[in-house]
């Protein structure tokens, strides 16, 4: 098979881009929540995992009822996953973080780790620790046939979906009434309250949005990998967290940039050096960034709030 250098490079490039977009999708959830309440939501990866499981279960149920049309299957299970994961995210905030809103910063962090462990084990008990095959929800697109060795249908869908979501999210935050309220809440919660913004609602909305993005990521990774288990959220969560820190936590373009850089680092590292050290490349990059630019690539050097 013909395999020139440029082709190989391009293949790795696309692979990194796909992977990076998923990291970015999940990283957005971390960074948005951090921007608003300065909390690292360690249970975010679990929301992603729950999104993937919801899609799997919905698709299985639909198939059992005789629904086989791929478009129906994809949209119904995707939407169910998004709704279900959002409900989890919303509840998570209400149960584990809201009561600790005025507690020292370490308390909600511990609570987040606790929720992460709880949700992992909850799914472990319900779904066993085995890898469960994820149905191939996305039928192959005929026009991608000639380039299928570089970019598969799933990769293509991942890239398109992520791009659309990023544009919508940017629009939401920059231009809409609720997005402006989110930015105001991030900058000064007390003042936002006094201007008539229901801060609790904005925080809930942030968790819902972040969880929806994570669920989309979960469904797409499930389709790409073909199998999922209760532990996928942990690894993906740590990677996405790395991406968020890399780009500058709290910064939305930073999360996207961090995700892509992380994806490419892993892809090129494994492709040109060795595939055994995928995680080593990712975390070495994190260490380097933290040494040379602790606030992240697009993070702002902020003076502490007075």
């Amino acid at each position: 098979m013909f395999h020139d250098k440029a082709g190989y490079f391009f293949e790795l490039f696309i692979g990194g881009l796909t992977k990076g977009s998923i990291y970015a999708l999940i990283a957005l959830g971390y960074t948005m929540v951090y921007g608003i309440i300065e909390l690292i939501n360690f249970a975010h990866g679990e929301i992603y995992m729950i999104g993937a499981f919801t899609a799997l279960i919905t698709a299985a149920a639909l198939t059992a009822f005789g629904v086989t049309h791929p478009l129906v299957l994809v949209s119904v299970s995707g939407i169910t996953a998004v709704v279900y994961a959002s409900a989890y995210g919303y509840t998570l905030e209400k149960v584990a973080y809201k009561p600790l809103r005025n507690a020292p910063r370490l308390s909600p962090l511990i609570s987040a780790i606790g929720m992460s462990i709880f949700l992992q084990n909850f799914v472990l008990l319900a779904q066993t620790s085995n890898y469960i095959p994820f149905p191939n929800l996305i039928p192959p697109l005929p026009f991608l046939e000639p380039v299928s060795h570089i970019m598969g249908t799933v990769d293509f869908i991942i890239l398109c979906t992520t791009a659309v979501i990023m544009i919508l999210l940017t629009f939401l935050i920059r231009k809409t009434r609720i997005g402006t309220a989110m930015r105001a809440t991030a900058q000064d919660k007390t003042m936002a309250r006094l201007l008539g913004i229901d801060v609790d609602r904005i925080i809930s909305f942030t968790f819902i949005t972040g969880s929806a993005l994570a669920a989309v990521g979960g469904v797409m990774v499930g389709s790409k990998m073909g199998q999922i288990n209760f532990y996928i959220g942990f690894i993906a969560g740590i990677k996405a967290f790395t991406a968020a820190v890399l780009g500058g936590i709290g910064s939305i373009p930073g999360a996207v940039l961090g995700g892509l850089i992380l994806g490419w680092t892993e892809s090129f590292g494994t492709g040109y050096l060795t595939s055994d050290y995928e995680d080593v490349f990712a975390f070495s990059l994190l260490v380097l960034i933290l040494i040379f630019k602790p606030s992240g690539l697009l993070g702002r050097n902020t003076t502490p709030k007075v």
Binding site: L168, L172, K175, T176, R177, I178, G179, T180, A181, R183, A184, Q187, D188, T190, M191, A192, R193, L194, L195, G196, I197, D198, V199, F205
Partner: protein, 262 residues
């Protein structure tokens, strides 16, 4: 005399310290009143209790939307107090520094607008009309405070006096019936203070609202206020016209100390 704000026996304890002690206070519709007193007298605590940042230990705070209808607002969440018709500014400027002047004022209109998430994406007629209205109203407010040439400046790039004005414009955007100003002239030079004095009068006349201000600049207080409340150690020690206050022996004692015979 239509009261707009009615405070009865308001008490606020922090642990063993009584910051406000059975405070009675009424602000009437369309009136400019001032709350003065030495540092630590409890003036800002009073503002915080009234705007919902603190939940008072006891007592009542009422806002009269109309002479017949009043809302009890103590213990209400701050954003609901704002909706009930009360806006404030802070001693230290609290603008959204990274946003433009226009955006700051637009956020102030948040509680008077409705567009939800669906409207934001589908951009139906109602949403677009509302957006146009918000922008139009916000421009007008910036014009009134004299910032029409700085609408797209980021708040942190505005000079100090203009930041103060922007804060007032933002507070007005919520369509308050009563505006609370916490030391609006703090840090201003005498020219800026004079401008502020005429701005406050202009706002009262243009919007027909009541204004209650905390201020240490006695010249500004005496020029503007129709009524003055004096606080010391969490109690109200005097109330009256600027003339009454100037000659009140209790006030003089609070400001100058127990033994003075000023």
């Amino acid at each position: 005399m239509n009261p707009i704000l009615n405070v009865r026996q308001l008490t606020m304890d922090f642990g063993g310290i009584r910051a406000l002690a059975r405070l009675d206070l009424t602000v009437n519709h369309g009136e400019i009143a001032a709350l003065i007193g030495p540092n630590g007298a409890g003036k800002t605590t009073f503002f915080n209790c009234v705007t919902g940042l603190y939940v008072p230990t006891s007592g009542d705070v009422f806002i009269h939307a109309t002479p017949e209808k009043s809302v009890r607002i103590n213990g209400m969440k701050p954003h609901r107090v704002t909706r009930a018709g009360l806006s404030r500014t802070f001693q230290n400027i609290r603008l959204f520094k990274e946003m433009t002047a226009l955006e700051n004022v637009m956020i102030g209109r948040h509680c008077r607008t409705h567009a939800g998430i669906f409207g934001a994406f589908f951009r139906n007629r109602a949403t677009r009309d509302e957006e146009q209205r918000i922008i139009h109203d916000s421009y007008r407010l910036l014009e009134i405070v004299g910032l029409e040439d700085q609408v797209n400046f980021r708040a942190l790039n505005l000079p100090y006096g203009d930041q103060r004005k922007l804060e007032i414009a933002r507070a007005l955007a919520a369509e308050p019936r009563l505006l609370l100003l916490d030391e609006p002239a703090a840090g201003m030079n005498s020219q800026e203070t004079r401008d502020l004095t005429s701005l406050i009068l202009k706002i009262r006349d243009e919007f027909n609202i009541a204004i209650l201000l905390i201020e240490h600049d006695m010249k500004l207080v005496m020029t503007l206020s129709e009524r003055i409340f004096v606080m010391d150690y969490g109690r109200k020690i005097a109330e009256g016209t600027p003339e009454d206050i100037r000659t009140n022996p209790d006030v003089i004692r609070a400001y100058l100390g127990e033994d003075s015979h000023a």
